[in-house]
Each structure stands twice: as C-alpha cells, then as structure tokens.
C-alpha cells in the first residue's frame, strides 16, 4: 500500500534513519543497527588519532546500509565541500548530509552556506541531503539546486525536545517536491510518529536512541512508531473540526428519552 521512498536511486524500506554518535560502544551500536535494520546510517569524518589504535566504526555497520557521512565541523560551504570530497574519497559512496554550523550555542544550521555547498556537491554528482532550519523559500532553492531530500530540524540537535517546528515543517511537506526528512531534536517515539503522520518521508534519530536507558529497545520502539505514523498518514487521518467541541462517536438519541 505504501509507495516506495527512493533517494539517490536507492529504494528505502525503513524510514527511520539512524545516527551513530554518542553510543557507549560500537558493539552496542551494532546491536541497535541489527535490530532496527536501517537503510540509511549517518557517520562523521574526523582526524585519525595517530597516537593510539582506535576501532573502525565501519566494522560495526551492517553491509547493505547506505552510509551518509555528514559534514559536521564545517562552518562554511567550502569546509562542507572539503569534508564531502574526503568522505567520498574514502569509498563511502556518494551520499552526503550537508551540515554547516557556526552557532555553537544552539547548533542551528546556516541555510545560506548550506545552499552554496549543495549547489557545488550536486554538480559533483553527490546525493545531497541538507540539514536545514525549516524555511519554505530555502527548501525550494535547495530543491531547485537538485538535492535529493531536505532535512529540517525538529528542535536543536541532541535536545530531545521534539517537533517544535511543526507548523513550518508541515508547510514544507505540503509544498516541497523532494522528500522532507525531520532530522534532529526528536526525543520520543511518539514525536517520530507525529512527523510521519504529518507526511514526512522519514526521520533521522540519534541521541534519543544512543543515550536511552536501553538503546536496543528504544530503537525498536522508534521503528514501530515510524511505521505506525507512516501507516496512519497513508490511511488518511480524520480531520479535526477546528474547535474544541466534541463530536459524538456513539449515537446520542436513544431509548432513555
């Protein structure tokens, strides 16, 4: 009954994308990925610690997952492009999550620099998914530039505050032709479900799973929530009356009077 989500030529079955930061260990992260079986997994690019032997995260990510390196650490378009090229050179494929942040307090993205980077990377053949502040005009520009999806934030990264940007994301879902994926801030499965009910194509969750009391069960809960929300969206939600009055669901006329 669902129509497939296709991004960068890849058919996405699982609309829960998973970020790999903040897990207490790679084996735990691997367990989460095995339970959740995401199609898309984000990673970051960093300098190797040449003074000590560190484990490689790729050994803990199931084969078959699309790796989506992010450009975290980039403060402008040039740095984002540089990180994207490095990620591609490492053989991770051509997906890139553009993330350009200058604001260290709220970690809110710089939409203009994000657009500049997107224009360059689309031309270079990347499958580009920009992380952005929800803004219809900018989402249109990004779509025109050829990005494969837009990823508005629900609330600041790692804040677990949920979909505070709901009204703006809803407008984007209605108006933007490319998939809208809520990235950042989702703290509970119910919030992921809400995004999917709104018609978002997918959600990206990291902190809420990685730092949960039991990340494996939390990941499973998020997966179920995403599936439930998607199913509800496809089923067509009953519309609200717009006011606070009740609408009886059982007949009120009857035998008592």
């Amino acid at each position: 009954m669902d129509n497939a989500l296709i991004i960068g030529g890849r058919q996405i079955q699982n609309r829960l994308f998973i970020g790999t930061g903040k897990f207490s260990s790679y084996p735990l992260m691997k367990q989460v990925l095995e339970v959740c079986r995401p199609d898309v997994v984000t990673v970051a690019v960093r300098r190797v610690d040449i003074t000590s032997k560190t484990e490689n995260i790729l050994d803990y990510i199931p084969k078959g997952c699309v790796l989506m390196p992010n450009t975290s650490g980039a403060r402008n378009a040039d740095e984002a492009v540089r990180i994207a090229r490095l990620a591609k050179a490492s053989g991770a494929g051509n997906w890139i999550k553009i993330e350009v942040i200058q604001d260290n307090k709220y970690l809110l993205p710089d939409n203009l620099e994000t657009l500049k980077a997107a224009e360059i990377l689309v031309q270079e053949g990347f499958t580009v998914l920009p992380y952005m502040s929800p803004d219809l005009a900018m989402a249109r520009r990004l779509a025109d530039a050829g990005v494969s999806a837009v990823m508005p934030l629900g609330s600041p990264i790692g804040s677990n505050r949920g979909i505070k940007t709901k009204e703006l994301v809803q407008i984007m879902v209605r108006e933007i032709k490319v998939p809208v994926i809520v990235d950042a801030g989702l703290g509970r499965p119910s919030e992921a479900c809400e995004c999917m009910e709104m018609g978002c194509a997918a959600v990206l969750v990291n902190t809420a799973i990685a730092v949960a009391g039991d990340p494996v069960h939390m990941a499973a809960a998020f997966r179920q929530a995403v599936e439930a929300g998607r199913r509800a969206y496809l089923a067509g939600l009953a519309s609200g009356s717009g006011d606070a009055l009740a609408s009886a669901s059982s007949p009120l006329t009857g035998f008592l009077r």
């Binding site: 790999t20 490689n56 995260i57 992010n70 490492s90």
Partner: protein, 66 residues
C-alpha cells in the same frame, strides 16, 4: 624534515613516501583517507609521493556522528 600531520608538527626522515608514512603509523590503508597539501590522494598514489619539508598531511576516517 618538519611536516604537519593532523595539525601537529612532526620530524620525519628524508626520502619517505606517503605510503611508508602510513605503514609507520600502523594505519590500515583501506580505512583512512589522506589529504596531502589540501588535495585528496587515492591510495594508489601514496607510494609515488615523496614527502617534502613543510608538507601538510591530514589523515581522516569515519566515526560515530548524527
């Protein structure tokens, strides 16, 4: 010879190839990406690059991130 590796200064001997430097650092070639003087260089080119004074080398890999 003084070069920069990942932002830090290091002294290395002369006539050292990029490939040998990677071996010396005990890094797995298939798990890293190398930027040599701001240019990304594929592993196939490492043995042909002889490191010179003041070169800047960045060695990167993936780690967890959202």
């Amino acid at each position: 010879m003084k070069i920069k590796i990942n932002g830090g200064s290091e002294n290395v001997g002369s006539n050292l190839s990029l490939a040998q430097l990677i071996v010396d650092k005990k890094l797995s070639p298939e798990k890293i990406v190398v930027e040599y003087n701001l240019r990304v260089v594929p592993a196939s080119e490492w043995s042909g690059i002889i490191i010179s004074d003041n070169d800047s080398i960045e060695i990167l890999s993936f780690l967890g991130g959202g």
